[in-house]
């Protein structure tokens, strides 16, 4: 089991009703975290339309998450 902090942004935060939570889960990749929390962030988008960062570094969805990591889940961006 890994202890992870998951942070939600924008639409994800509003749907989850929280901006962060701590999870004790058995997962390998960032993608696993995205899927596991899908009923929380409520995304209908595939992960490929969203972005993820691990410990304030932009990451690939296939990247392995480690015990103690903070996973930032970003809905599709719309800057500019």
């Amino acid at each position: 089991m890994k202890t992870l902090t998951v942070r939600y942004f924008a639409a994800f935060r509003e749907r989850a009703g929280t901006d962060a939570e701590t999870l004790e889960v058995d997962v390998e990749s960032a993608r696993d975290v995205f899927e596991l929390t899908r009923d929380r962030h409520g995304s209908e988008d595939p992960a490929g339309h969203c972005k993820v960062a691990i410990n304030d570094e932009m990451a690939d969805w296939s990247q392995t998450v480690e015990d103690g990591d903070t996973i930032l889940l970003f809905p599709p961006v719309a800057g500019g």
Partner: protein, 151 residues
């Protein structure tokens, strides 16, 4: 070279002055303004949410790429967060270089990349009272380029 985030009005005059350079012959600016309409809905105002630590990091990376690719002498980008009214400047990009071609290309590169890579989200507040997070699917397709992956 710098990426800046601000929750107050972007001072475009001061930014222009900050880029003065006696060896620069070409200066290009792009500004994104809040429009009164999007996808046929009347917009009253916009709200930008940004995750600033990664906006700065990604923005600095984009600017460094533009300098590397186009050899510009100076490049600055400032993005707003918070509540914006129609006509407000949401993003400002300025590039200065010896000649115009590099300035134009670098400016375009920076705004294109900023729009798809910075963790910024836009909520439109419509005249009708409704609100909506804008999802830019075209942007999302751009996804995470290899250059950004931390692996």
């Amino acid at each position: 070279m710098s990426m800046q985030m601000t929750s107050t009005t972007i001072d475009t005059t001061a930014l222009r002055e900050s880029m003065a350079d006696p060896a620069a012959g070409g200066f290009c600016v792009f500004e994104g303004w809040v429009r009164n309409e999007n996808d046929n809905s009347d917009v009253e105002r916009l709200e930008y949410e940004a995750y600033e630590p990664l906006c700065i990091k990604e923005g600095e990376a984009i600017i460094a790429e533009a300098v590397e690719k186009f050899g510009v002498r100076g490049a600055v980008c400032v993005h707003r967060s918070g509540l914006l009214e129609i006509g407000d400047c949401a993003v400002w990009v300025g590039t200065a270089s010896g000649h115009r071609d590099e300035a134009f290309r670098a400016c375009r590169y920076i705004i294109d990349e900023v729009k798809v890579r910075l963790p910024i989200w836009k909520k439109e507040h419509y005249v009708s009272g409704a609100t909506e997070w804008v999802s830019c699917v075209r942007c999302a397709k751009h996804a995470v380029p290899d250059s950004l992956k931390s692996a």
